[in-house]
Assembly symmetry: D2
Homo-oligomer: 367 residues x 4
């Protein structure tokens, strides 16, 4: 797997974490279930299958019992995410985050709910709580038999079981298996940044399936313009989308996480997106250290003492810059890591050619 | 089935439509699938089952082909609605609206998606479109084996097929089968108002499952206070929720529909709700006559001519008052129509006793 | 001055604080400058003058140095409030809150800015900070020469100097001098509630100038319907507005304050408002104990430890109910405290007659 | 005055209008009042003065009588804009848009209100309407005696009287007189794009005062990195801000304008901004052809027929791309047009050196 830095370049000014991945945020794990099956003409319900599920697990405990501060942001709402309203209202995340294809969101939400119920036998029985699953999606119908809706509950549960810390598989994996990005093969990408002498890490994982070829910028260089007539998809791919997951171990409040989430659009814009009508672009941000335990009964005191990020201009701005940089690099990692894939009806999504990309980056003096 | 007006009272100042139901908006149909099975102790996955699905169909055509102007509003986001982001962004509704229990939202969204795919074989094949299902929910776990997640695809499709115009079944039906409202039995309710000499109708359908007993107001009278020690649920019911569907045949823009949707909270407040933390209260508003056809290709002109509601103060305020009144009456209809029901573990939700309610309304000089 | 409780009634279930006023929240002070001058025909720039300024001071220190957590909520945005964007973004309030007439908002914002600059000679000099004034307004043009824009900087500064704790003057004072409410004389009103055995106080102050006569509900009783043909304004008054200030000494986060602010609409709705198009209804909520000191330089650590309200369902719901009750009572206090006033062109706004109101409340068994 | 295109470069893919200015949208006029007075040490209230007012006039008629469709978007709300709530609620603009310094917003709002009152003698007299002024601001305190608050009513009125169509003065003019951008001299900039074979124009005018030196990108090239040690301000300038005004003659709805406004952030991001905590970044978008006349009485019909932009994916995406491109170029025009200026306490803001910028753009193969 090739990553952007293997080409000798990196966006931004902040240092990356050891894996340059969302898993650099301690406790965060990522798992994929990748579904690739069949080739040739589309036979609905049979294949070709080019889809999957990616899971981001914020911590190793039970998320329902140990909720974490979270925020969501909708850059462009033309998409079918699940679970955003409750995160927005309560400022908490209480399930893994799942990424899949557009037509499987309902099923994946159902499977995620089932998973959380299994781990919490009191939900809906001795207590009357319920659980809020969070799911994002992209339209992988250019390569995938998306109508076949091939993702099943077992695939979601597998992806959760597969979740690991350390390096993250990128490109044609999990929910990104059939994704396109700027008309090239896209998929999953990740990156991280360290702040405050390593006291704080910010990580991003993207599910990248957006963009028109001509618009692609790599470190600001107009790379897309060099490929307007080559390596094109046979037909117009779906309108696209990107789901961006931001994680930090800073004890950020939901309010601050929402502000960070809004900056993700700035990282996205740097890659050339003009946020077209059909691109459903969403952000989910969470803090692994701002926790809110589930309470089965009224607490003794209406107040509590917690650690929080100082929301001063210096601290906030540093977190914002980190969010911008990680998102930009995560998208470029998705693009660089992805490999050429043929899918339904012989549709081919070409990987961006690394040699030519390197040459062009040199031409534009970015390396 | 008893309705509020059968007790000789009605809130507000505007005249109701012929059915005093959301179906008074021409073209709107409502269908229910009601699942009632078993009794006695909870056996997860077996029962007792007290749940279902309610469908609101905005018009008789294919909603994907003939999208309608719509808006959503989140009063309190502690809930698991589906499809809100896209309605908010695009201002269009392209699927039936389904109402069910909290833990079945994923499945119902999946089933609604499947239904729309069946009717539109090009989705995900010759075109790359997808479809946005809209689902609301309440927690019926006091009466229902909610963990059993008994709603299946066939129930959703049945409810669509069941959809009818004319009078609407209320109370213990469809998604409202297992609902509680102010600690009494709740469920589905509906109402309508006519405006501008009958030129315009506004209708509401509510999925009412919210409220603490003591808070209940009926036409402003503090009815709940008279039942603080009687006809109580055996244990504290789930925190509640209400989904409010508003419909009009006025050619309202998404912008105006959003303003109407925000007024639904005023109707809700009149029944005594203080919008507690756990009450996930959501509104979906649509216009049956502001349509946006699906386009498979770029139109010849970037502009078009359309009929729209005049957004002047008089017209807007009249629509707002209608929204408030219909929501208040729809909630009270849900309460009055509902009948006493025993459910899981022998839990009983009592209907509000009509005789005593009538007496109290007379005592408070409301009839 | 008569208050609602002098008529023997009170809304809600929670106990009021000692003054039943926003000043029951320790540290909160209120000041008015009331401008009443001239009578008879309108002479623009001369009078009659029936306007003023009301100031809510969250604490006794320098608000720029010792900012407090705050949130805003727009119920209906047809109004000209100042300073909302920054409160929404940062979650902090750094100036007194001023309430005045619609056409004087710019001037009052300017005066408030000047006041804060005077107390902070470094702003714009050694530091590059600026200050965010918060101003709300209502249209008092039925009684007042509103075009004359009679409020001046000195009036704003006086109101700040006048600010006191303890009982608050209500009705025809300060920014409420020329206000109408449900076609009766309106103005300033306040109320409070105590929670958690007196550990926490929630207070509201309203600037009430909204509502159509027929809609008025007092404790749910349809009082307005009894006055549809009597004590009416000579002409249609301006469309109205209400500004609601909520205060608490619970160490609430901006996120929780925003949730409380959204519940203010429920208190407003209980008085009969249908939130008409022209009614600019806004909420400002703050916590006197969640503080964020102004920092002139980057802090040593990116994190800090703070006390916060436990955002569990019990604590949050209690705060929400308190918000609803205080707003309802504050509005009714504004209505009851206001006295009949004649203004420009001999326009008369009648006080709601206390005797008749008492009779009607007895008739409706509310006392 | 030098513009970006004078250096032989231009961002984006769409053709510019004849003036490459917001005034290419027919009817739009721009006026400036530029206040430059004194030099040397800061003497508060005396100078040095480096500030002013810029006015964007959407059309030549009376904006109160002939309101236009509009939307606002807050990218980062740390700022003191005026009038946003009403635009957001009603979707209409009814006053000129004024841009000034942070501490003069109240006064400028007051002056704009006075101007609108003068033109509409019925406001607040025979009718009870009021008027909503819209004002944006940036902090020019690095060069300007911002505490002195030197903008007066006459300056606002002059800027309105000065408003012209055709070429627009950029850089150190009007509200941008004392602005910095990426640590260089900034100010006012503008640009336009034509769409649909010239049937539609989109224009932007920016009030640019944001950004950290190192972050500056010009057409994606990392220009800022080449100036991290040269031509720096003596001290850290204020945190910055940008106000973006978007105009179009397409008959866009408020809903579509809001979507366009959200894309402005993408143009901003392309110049390198990471949207730091202190940068108050706001967007105002309007359509000159979607009009809503002021009505003094209820209209005969609750509906009307209007021309609207077809909100299909092709049309919407084209408008979005135009918004992104015009904003990027308008910012770069502000930067290129601005000239070195010395201000209070001898503070100097250097113009970006055109020769060096040209060289660097050639180095990075952008020209």
């Amino acid at each position: 797997m090739t990553r952007l830095r293997d080409l000798g370049v990196a966006p931004g000014h902040l240092p990356a974490g050891p894996c340059n991945a969302i898993t650099d945020v301690p406790g965060v794990r990522v798992g994929h279930t990748t579904l690739i099956q069949g080739e040739g003409p589309l036979e609905i319900g049979v294949g070709p299958v080019r889809t999957g599920v990616t899971i981001v697990l914020p911590h190793g405990g039970d998320l329902f019992r140990e909720k974490i501060a979270a925020a969501v942001h909708t850059i462009n709402g033309f998409g079918k995410v699940f679970g955003f309203e409750q995160v927005r209202e309560l400022g908490t995340l209480e399930s893994p985050v799942a990424l899949t294809n557009t037509l499987n969101v309902g099923l994946v939400a159902d499977a995620l709910t089932a998973y959380m119920l299994r781990g919490n036998p009191d939900i809906g029985v001795s207590t009357f709580g319920t659980v809020n699953a969070v799911v994002g999606e992209v339209n992988d119908g250019f390569l995938n038999d998306i109508r076949g809706r091939h993702v099943r509950q077992q695939h979601v549960w597998q992806a959760i079981e597969n979740a690991r810390d350390g390096p993250v598989a990128e490109g044609n994996v999990g929910g990104g298996t059939g994704a396109l990005c700027f008309g090239f093969k896209g998929g999953i990408g990740t990156a991280s940044r360290q702040l405050f002498d390593g006291q704080v890490t910010v990580g991003a994982l993207v599910h990248a399936n957006f963009g028109a070829r001509r618009e692609l910028l790599v470190l600001g260089a107009p790379i897309g313009e060099h490929f307007v007539d080559s390596l094109l998809p046979q037909t117009t791919p779906p309108a696209g989308s990107i789901i961006i997951v931001l994680a930090t171990d800073a004890p950020a409040s939901p309010h601050l996480l929402a502000r960070m989430a809004r900056r993700a659009a700035f990282g996205l814009a740097r890659t050339g997106s003009t946020c077209s009508d059909g691109s459903g672009d969403f952000v989910i941000a969470f803090s692994t250290t701002s926790r809110r335990p589930y309470l089965a009964a009224r607490p003794a005191s209406p107040t509590e003492t917690t650690a929080r990020v100082s929301e001063d201009p210096w601290t906030a701005s540093a977190l914002f810059a980190a969010a911008v940089e990680t998102v930009e690099e995560a998208i470029l990692n998705a693009l660089v890591a992805a490999e050429t894939m043929a899918g339904r009806d012989g549709n081919i999504a070409h990987a961006i050619p690394h040699d030519r990309l390197s040459e062009l980056l040199a031409h534009y003096r970015r390396r």
